[in-house]
């Protein structure tokens, strides 16, 4: 089972679903789920197979290489699994909407191209799959019509700019070392001049930064995520953001080798430190902006940018624990962020399209399973000890503190607290509080939506209690990169400087929880009362006028909102406007009067001769 | 006898014919007039500065079968002379079916006073947007503030009728 068959299945599947759709919806749905399932299974069974296949296609004598090792396996499995769940989730979500064949084929195409990126062994095939992913994402983002169109346009412009800059980087690499295959390329850059390495880093960093929504390049993400259809935005923010991470890891650890990267520049101005600072800014500012949001999906979009900041911080900091933390946080973030988007999608599906946090409320009574998924999701997002988010953040903080950079640690920890605030706001405004009149009769989410939610929540808890499994995989990746692996056991990290053992924490919580539950059960039985039998200073609870969770953190928002105007967005908008104005200005040249055109020709001729006579250039 | 009171009295008399104006003491001026000229008087007072309706109270002259409404008007102004003036506009209306036009168009704050009078005296104010009960919880066929309302009899046949729980339980 070599890799080209996997890619063939993926891309072929995408095309076939489009035409199957013409025949019947049912077959197409089943086929789409079957294809994504097959992808997940095949990707999974490449576990510690590390093989390389080279195909000399006619593509301008660039070799087309596919390779798989634990590093690419780790990303491929996450992509395939999250893709599978989002397709299952979209079975119901998309049924009522327009041209569904287009949606399914594009979704499979995006997943296929992401797997292609992860399995590609050389930079050209990496670039080809990267571009296919960009334009298929563009088509999917603008699927929702209306405001989604401007969101899609903003996305495609930034990603085309990023990939064009990367193209320059790839070609200059090719011309310097006339090979683009990772294995050959990795050794060569060590003796290159640090100026050239910096040039390459900047180029690639812009491309991956756009995809990874790093702070100055994050502008496209909030509109794109909130306008894209929910199952796709769970793919978008779950894994597509991580392709940028994959690129950065590839750049730092495979192409430039970690030791070269570490001693680039010295002290404060070292590249490692600058990227960490960018990562920290990407954590802080979007977290505070997320606090101000009222639209659920836009809040999650800003939180995606913040969490991507953690991953960048973890990877760029360079020590083996921080890289492990970064990669583990990638894995966790893929799970709980796609879970949260599915929860919001389920709520949106049931209340047909309401995402505004101020008008939702009390849905726990109607959609309990979705609530439990959402609760576990935000616990993962925050990093409550028994969830997987905790372990990865703990790793990042530990290295930051012990390697004497407390200010980075401070900013990251403050980011966590911001996450607590906005994630609780998400759950509270959507599920808790009074149930408004108009949502009395909504049913619970259909089974095809609940299945991925339940499985992903179990995954969060499972990997939270047993972080050893993913950490073992990450260890083998790190040793592949030539860094000394962490000392881990199945239950957590046992290094000498600081240990966490999730088993003890789990048993402690379990035992104490049961004890408290027993005390609770032993005492008098409490009568269950509805939402209208409530303390209202002696009067009865007025229907529909008793929900105070409108703009939840109003005092804080009033304090911080003047400082958080998104000036980066205004900068990009003014740039676009100035290009349009120059365009209009230049259009004036073609005046429409043929006399002017003839004068232009003569002037051109005169200019040529004048230059030759005076300066003898030619 | 301050001159503002007298000057006010002169121009009121000049405008309106069938009204009776007399200055009872240094700062009080009472105007008694017909039911339907109340609106015009109040609007003219409001126009030349007396823009505060302090209270609308009602007196139940049961003997000559009339209800007398008293509008107490004063002015929010700096000059102390005018500020101290209190003007009482009195009018009498029949007791059987008391009907009157609302003054809310002139003085906004008349709304609760008129609701209270409606509830306690049964006066119906035509044109009042919300004549709903203000203070009382229960319905009364004779409005309680009227003189012919016998509270003691009311208490006997409402409150005392309600049995104690023990006797009710005993009897059943």
């Amino acid at each position: 089972m070599n890799l080209i068959i996997l890619l063939a299945i993926a891309f072929g599947g995408a095309l076939i679903t489009y035409f199957l759709g013409k025949i019947s919806q049912k077959i197409r749905d089943i086929f789409a789920v079957f294809i994504s399932l097959a992808l997940a299974v095949i990707a999974a069974c490449f576990y510690n197979v590390s093989s390389r296949e080279i195909y000399y296609t006619g593509f301008l004598d660039f070799p087309f290489v596919l390779r798989v090792n634990t590093f690419s396996w780790f990303f491929a499995v996450t992509i395939a699994v999250i893709g599978l769940f989002s397709i299952i989730f979209s079975l119901n979500y998309i049924r009522k909407r327009g041209n569904t064949d287009f949606y399914y084929s594009m979704m499979l195409l995006v997943i296929a191209s992401m797997i292609g990126i992860v399995l590609s062994g050389d930079l050209v095939s990496f670039y080809i799959f990267w571009e296919i992913m960009s334009w298929s994402t563009f088509l999917l983002i603008s699927y929702n019509r209306g405001p989604a169109i401007s969101a899609g346009m903003k996305y495609i412009i930034m990603s085309v700019t990023g990939s064009v800059v990367m193209l320059v980087g790839i070609v200059s690499l090719y011309l310097h070392y006339d090979t683009l295959v990772y294995t050959e390329l990795s050794g060569l850059l060590n003796n290159a001049s640090s100026g050239y390495i910096l040039f390459i880093i900047i180029l690639f960093f812009i491309a991956f930064g756009v995809k990874n929504a790093i702070w100055p390049l994050h502008v496209w993400l909030p509109p794109a995520h909130s306008e894209a259809p929910s199952p796709f935005s769970s793919v978008l923010s779950g894994i597509l953001i991580k392709i940028g991470t994959y690129g950065i890891i590839l750049l730092i650890f495979v192409i430039i080798q970690i030791n070269v990267f570490l001693n680039l520049g010295e002290g404060i101005l070292s590249v490692r430190y600058i990227i960490s600072i960018i990562g920290v800014i990407t954590i802080l500012i979007p977290t505070f902006i997320a606090l101000l949001q009222d639209d659920a999906k836009r809040l999650l979009a800003w939180s995606t940018i913040a969490q991507a900041g953690y991953i960048i911080l973890g990877i760029a900091y360079g020590t083996s624990e921080s890289v492990a933390g970064g990669m583990f946080h990638f894995f966790n973030h893929a799970i709980f962020k796609s879970l949260l988007f599915m929860v919001v999608g389920a709520v949106e599906y049931r209340t047909n399209g309401v995402r505004d946090l101020n008008s939702l409320g009390g849905l726990i009574k109607k959609m309990p399973v979705t609530f439990i998924g959402g609760l576990i999701g935000i616990c993962g997002l925050i990093g409550v000890p028994l969830t997987n988010g905790f372990v990865s953040k703990w790793l990042i903080y530990k290295t930051l503190i012990l390697n004497n950079s407390p200010f980075l640690a401070f900013a990251a920890l403050l980011g966590t607290w911001g996450t607590i605030l906005y994630s609780y706001k998400l759950i509270h405004n959507m599920f808790l509080g009074q149930l408004p009149e108009k949502y009395e009769k909504i049913k619970k989410a259909p089974f095809s939506m609940q299945l991925p939610i339940v499985i992903l929540s179990l995954a969060i808890i499972f990997f939270g209690i047993i972080p050893g499994l993913p950490l073992h995989v990450i260890n083998s990746i790190e040793s592949g990169f030539g860094m000394e692996p962490l000392t881990i056991n199945i239950w957590g990290i046992a290094s000498d400087t600081g240990t966490i053992n999730m088993l003890n924490i789990f048993t402690a919580v379990l035992v104490i929880g049961i004890m408290v539950w027993l005390i609770f059960k032993v005492s008098k039985k409490s009568t269950v009362i509805g939402q209208y039998d409530n303390y209202a200073a002696g009067t009865t609870v007025p229907k529909d006028k008793y929900n105070y969770s409108v703009n939840f953190y109003d005092p804080l928002c009033r304090m911080i909102s003047p400082y958080l105007k998104d000036f980066i967005d205004d900068f990009y908008m003014s740039l676009a406007r100035s290009i349009k104005n120059t365009g209009n200005g230049i259009r004036r040249i073609y005046t429409g009067d043929v006399g002017h055109y003839v004068i232009y020709i003569i002037l051109f001729l005169a200019l040529l001769i004048f230059i030759q006579i005076n300066w003898e250039l030619w | 006898m301050n001159h503002t009171g007298t000057s006010l009295k002169e121009n009121l008399l000049s405008y309106f014919d069938d009204i009776l104006v007399e200055i009872s003491d240094e700062h009080r001026l009472t105007i008694s007039c017909k039911k339907d000229s109340v609106i015009t008087i109040l609007s003219s007072l409001n126009r030349n500065g007396y823009n505060h309706l302090a209270l609308i109270s009602c007196v139940d002259w049961i003997k000559d079968n009339e209800l007398e409404l008293v509008y107490i008007i004063s002015a929010y102004t700096e000059d102390s002379e005018k500020g101290k003036m209190n003007i009482l506009v009195k009018t009498k209306i029949a007791r059987e079916k008391p009907e009157l036009l609302t003054v809310m168009s002139i003085y906004e704050n008349a709304e609760p006073y008129e609701r209270e009078l409606h509830e306690l005296y049964g006066i119906n104010f035509k044109g009042h947007p919300r004549l709903i009960p203000l203070l009382l919880e229960r319905e009364y066929e004779i409005p309680p503030f009227r003189k012919d309302f016998d509270t003691r009899k009311y208490v006997q046949d409402v409150f005392d009728k309600i049995p104690f729980v023990e006797d009710k339980k005993g009897r059943k």
């Binding site: 009390g362 200010f407 403050l414 759950i427 | -």
Partner: protein, 298 residues
């Protein structure tokens, strides 16, 4: 080995409960004395808890029950990570960061059950709770980072042992600054008067706990007692040299608590904006200065 850890756990939990409730009773007694009145018996909290356990209560659903259970077990779990003299059962499986994160479970549990109570006053109480938590977290993080970088470790047991050798951490200037900052934010952590915004009885009639009847209120008061014990023991462990012998340890905690009570008795209540502004100004400044000094002197 497992036996004596279980033994240690039980001892710690009982000790913490007793000390916590004793502190609550004492606080009400001291407040009364300051008000120049006789005040309730010291064991009043225990009596309250017994009464509450006998009362029937109304619950708003499963999450309402789960929330209070989750928050109490969260507080008790944090307890196990804190060293009490040489007894520290779970210190091997998690350091100061784990404590910081576990201290977050209690407010989250309370918020969830408060949310389920579907009362707008609880929403206001919860949003105030989180805002205040966000307020005092900024200086608290700076303080913890200063201590951790100063002792260059993230496990609290090492910090206590180092303090045993080199004496209290108040001698070093940066730690003195962050100690003072910590005292400034302790009333916010313990929900005492200048920052008693969450259960402000006059304004939002005891905030998130508005729908807590009999046994819920009992569990909430127990959780509050544990929270008092945890915060004070964390402070004494980090700054006052931990516990050579338990008696001396409790005395230090008591002194700090009494200082806070004096402040609590006389100061009015902050509005939420003023509270955040205050917390982000003075204590944050002090702690930041401490952190700079520590990271500079290295």
């Amino acid at each position: 080995m497992v036996m004596n850890t279980i033994l240690e756990i039980i001892i710690i939990i009982l000790l913490a409960a007793i000390i916590g409730l004793f502190f609550l009773g004492l606080s009400r007694k001291i407040m009364a004395r300051i008000h120049w009145r006789y005040g309730p018996p010291i064991a009043q909290p225990v009596i309250d808890i017994i009464k509450l356990f006998n009362q029937t209560s109304m619950s708003h659903g499963k999450l309402f029950n789960f929330g209070i259970i989750f928050s109490l077990s969260g507080s008790v779990v944090v307890l196990l990570f804190l060293p009490l003299g040489e007894m520290c059962p779970l210190s091997s499986s998690g350091g100061l960061l784990v404590i910081l994160y576990c201290m977050l479970i209690a407010p989250l549990g309370l918020a969830l059950s408060g949310g389920e109570a579907a009362n707008p006053i609880t929403s206001i109480g919860i949003s105030r709770k989180f805002l205040l938590a966000f307020g005092y977290e900024l200086p608290l993080l700076l303080i913890l980072l200063t201590v951790m970088t100063h002792f260059n470790t993230i496990s609290i047991v090492d910090i206590v042992n180092m303090q045993l050798q080199t004496g209290w951490s108040f001698q070093h200037l940066p730690l003195l600054l962050s100690g003072i900052a910590y005292i400034l934010i302790l009333p916010a952590i313990l929900d005492l008067r200048p920052f008693e915004l969450i259960q402000a009885p006059q304004e939002i009639s005891s905030g998130p706990m508005i729908e807590y009847g009999g046994k819920f209120l009992a569990l909430a008061t127990i959780q509050h007692a544990f929270n008092v014990f945890i915060s004070l023991s964390l402070f004494t462990n980090l700054f006052l040299g931990g516990a050579e012998n338990p008696g001396y340890f409790f005395l230090k905690m008591l002194i700090v608590f009494i200082i806070l009570l004096f402040v609590n008795a006389v100061t009015p209540r902050f509005r939420i904006e003023q509270a955040i502004k205050f917390l982000w100004r003075w204590p944050a400044l002090l702690a930041f200065a401490g952190l700079i000094i520590v990271s500079v002197t290295g």
